[in-house]
């Protein structure tokens, strides 16, 4: 499993706030992805109804997941794919290694898959002597930089173009050192040139899957670069790595979720490439892989079924929740310390690595609700983060001071008379501390007031004003 750094959320977030280059990159995210989504949604009057339909399709599939997984398996096998099941990352890695060995593979061309990050596939294969080349430009940049992704669809958004230029100069030693590497187009061209030969050399092409279609036995990848197609289309063997939650029933369901996916992700109406892959090549003349293997991974997801977290399995990894999250927008993806950042990461990471290792994440939310309001699958992300907070409290893993504080609050909030009396005193005390309507230092809230002032409370609380109006 990829190393979990989620317990260092506070430290990494603190550094991120003072990282000017990162802050510049995050600013672009709000304008380029956030605004683009709003425009795309405006242009499709049926968008809201489609979100309901997408949610219902995914709910129906999850409620009948055994049926659809088996139906998909029957069809995929009939079409010549070989289906492998893996309970966890270790099993999946072993299966993939075995497949690579069976064709004596030296080089794997790999299209972006978040699941492969989840199970730390690359270091495992490299240790076994199989070279892995990431072909998605963002993932390729991160492979050169030896960094984890910081966003589910723009893995390298935290890098500036100058950082990428330096990285390319260091890594592409065979190219002319005097070459021009100033504009982004220069860098995209260079990556294209370098990776092009590798596609033709690769023995195995590994892709993820945005969806599996039960009706046809297909796997579907959605990309903008075309790297996923080149990875699978030029190698001897195509390996698909997918988790159990990816299955949808029919081609029409695919049409529905496609209308939601790209709009939510980048504000595109469709990504440049949506490819349905079904089995191996049918004839030698058409080319394409001689064999096709699909590895279906659970990695703990079956444990979420029948719990509140079943709803998180609707996720299509569009990234809209992080594009619209004020916390993600301030600290970036690396602060979350594992594969999935942002609000969906705050829900998935505790489920995948344990709440004790990721307890900061569901707390790193203002509960403003923007994530839920843009989620194409209407996943109630704040509700699920709140559920983690509840489990965190019940499992007694918070520091004592925090637990006592919360316990005291609960005790107080359940006693209305006492509560009103206590808040009236607190308001009075805070007003005494205020100068010109601002409180600059507040006992027990030093962390807050060390970086900003707190506005002085109104003379009368909302509750007493409300009572007065009746």
């Amino acid at each position: 499993m990829m190393q979990v750094n989620s317990s260092a959320f506070k430290e990494i977030a603190h550094k991120a706030l003072h990282d000017d280059q990162l802050q510049e990159a995050l600013g672009l995210l709000r304008t380029n992805f956030g605004d683009a989504r709003a425009t795309a949604v405006e242009r499709l009057p049926e968008f809201g109804a489609l979100r309901n339909a997408g949610r219902d399709i995914r709910n129906h599939t999850l409620e009948n997941l055994d049926h659809y997984l088996e139906a998909w398996e029957v069809k995929a096998t009939e079409q010549g794919a070989i289906v492998h099941w893996a309970r966890d990352g270790e099993e999946a890695r072993r299966i993939i290694l075995g497949l690579c060995r069976s064709v004596d593979a030296k080089l794997m061309a790999k299209s972006k898959t978040m699941i492969s990050e989840e199970i730390a596939l690359n270091p495992f294969l490299e240790d076994e002597g199989i070279e892995v080349i990431e072909t998605d430009l963002g993932e390729y940049i991160l492979q050169l930089a030896d960094e984890p992704p910081s966003h589910v669809i723009g893995p390298a958004i935290h890098k500036t173009k100058e950082q990428v230029a330096d990285l390319f100069r260091d890594s592409h030693a065979a190219l002319d050192p005097a070459r021009r590497l100033v504009e982004i187009s220069d860098m995209v061209g260079e990556a294209r040139q370098v990776l092009r030969e590798r596609y033709f050399e690769a023995d195995v092409g590994l892709t993820g899957a945005n969806f599996l279609i039960a009706e046809t036995g297909s796997s579907v990848i959605v990309t903008n670069e075309g790297n996923g197609d080149l990875s699978q289309g030029l190698a001897k063997m195509h390996i698909v790595l997918a988790t159990i939650d990816k299955v949808i029933p029919t081609l029409n369901d695919l049409a529905t979720v496609l209308r939601l996916l790209a709009r939510s992700a980048t504000g595109q109406e469709m990504a440049a490439y949506t490819t349905l892959s079904t089995g191996p090549r049918r004839t030698d003349a058409e080319g394409g892989p001689e064999s096709c293997h699909v590895v279906i991974l659970d990695n703990g997801r079956t444990g979420w079924l029948g719990t509140p977290f079943q709803e998180a399995l609707r996720c299509v990894r569009c990234g809209a929740c992080m594009n619209h999250c004020p916390v993600y927008g301030a600290v970036g993806g690396h602060a979350y310390g594992w594969v999935y950042p942002g609000p969906i990461g705050a829900v998935l990471t505790p489920a995948l690595v344990g709440i004790e290792r990721a307890r900061h994440l569901p707390n790193a939310s203002t509960f403003c609700g923007r994530c839920e309001s843009v989620c194409p699958m209407r996943i109630p992300l704040p509700k699920l983060m709140r559920e983690w907070r509840r489990q965190e409290f019940e499992s007694k893993i918070q520091p004592l001071r925090q637990r006592f504080g919360l316990a005291f609050w609960r005790w107080l909030a359940q006693r209305p008379v006492l509560y009103r009396w206590a808040t009236a005193i607190a308001v009075h005390g805070m007003r005494l501390l205020a100068r010109d309507g601002r409180i600059r230092r507040l006992p027990l809230a030093g962390a807050w007031t060390s970086v900003r002032d707190m506005p002085a409370p109104a003379r009368r609380s909302f509750q007493s004003q409300w009572k007065g109006r009746k």
Binding site: I141, L230, T278
Partner: protein, 217 residues
């Protein structure tokens, strides 16, 4: 217990599946956006508008006899060499290529050195301006991904209104080909500083030639 049986048993336990029970009823069908539900000329206009919106270029010709001139004009306009690799699609066999003396035609599957490839689309989708490319011996999957410039012939009669119509068309032929690609414009990436650049790994240019004449029955 095999991993398969173990995972499926956990799924059944999780969703509370009782032995011998069938799957629940499907939800009501999803709405199909009104935008793509247009016929005839309006559908062609929508397809063209949507394809151009994703940075593809589109021309329309009356029949396949006009294809050589359309290809030559496009290559000249883009300052590209007058050489093209055309797929083995039998529809290209009878095209009067000799009407363009300067145009060099080779047939087959494009390799790493081929700059421009000509292929034929199985369908088009007006709703999204997408091409539907189905992999077979006539039009291999890689013909639309390897070259820098993809020139694609699309019969007007094959342009469907909506994504759902295109899915229905795929379903008619029974099992799917190994690869079906819905292609919406050229390859692109926003992976460096979120600035969109065309031609990441797939074609930098996608030129669509709509042919009004339907294919011979």
């Amino acid at each position: 217990m095999s991993a398969r049986d173990d995972i499926l048993a956990k799924v059944r336990a999780g969703i509370g599946r009782k032995p011998g029970t069938d799957r629940g009823p499907r939800p009501v069908p999803a709405p199909i956006p009104a935008r793509g539900q247009v016929e005839g000329e309006a559908r062609l206009v929508l397809f063209t508008k949507q394809a151009e919106a994703v940075a593809a270029t589109v021309v329309r010709i009356p029949d396949m006899a006009a294809l050589p001139a359309a290809v030559s004009n496009y290559l000249a306009g883009q300052n590209l060499p007058a050489a093209i690799m055309a797929t083995a699609d039998t529809d290209f066999d009878t095209v009067p290529w000799n009407t363009q003396a300067m145009l060099e035609i080779t047939r087959g599957t494009p390799g790493i050195a081929d700059q421009v490839c000509l292929a034929q689309a199985a369908a088009g989708i007006a709703e999204t301006g997408s091409l539907v490319m189905t992999a077979n011996a006539d039009n291999p999957h890689m013909a639309s991904f390897v070259p820098e410039t993809a020139v694609v012939v699309l019969r007007a009669s094959r342009i469907e209104g909506t994504l759902d119509d295109a899915m229905a068309r795929l379903r008619v032929t029974g099992d799917l080909p190994r690869a079906v690609s819905l292609i919406s414009g050229p390859s692109r990436t926003g992976d460096i500083a979120l600035k969109i650049e065309l031609g990441a790994h797939g074609p930098r240019r996608v030129h669509i030639v709509i042919v009004d004449e339907p294919e011979a029955a």
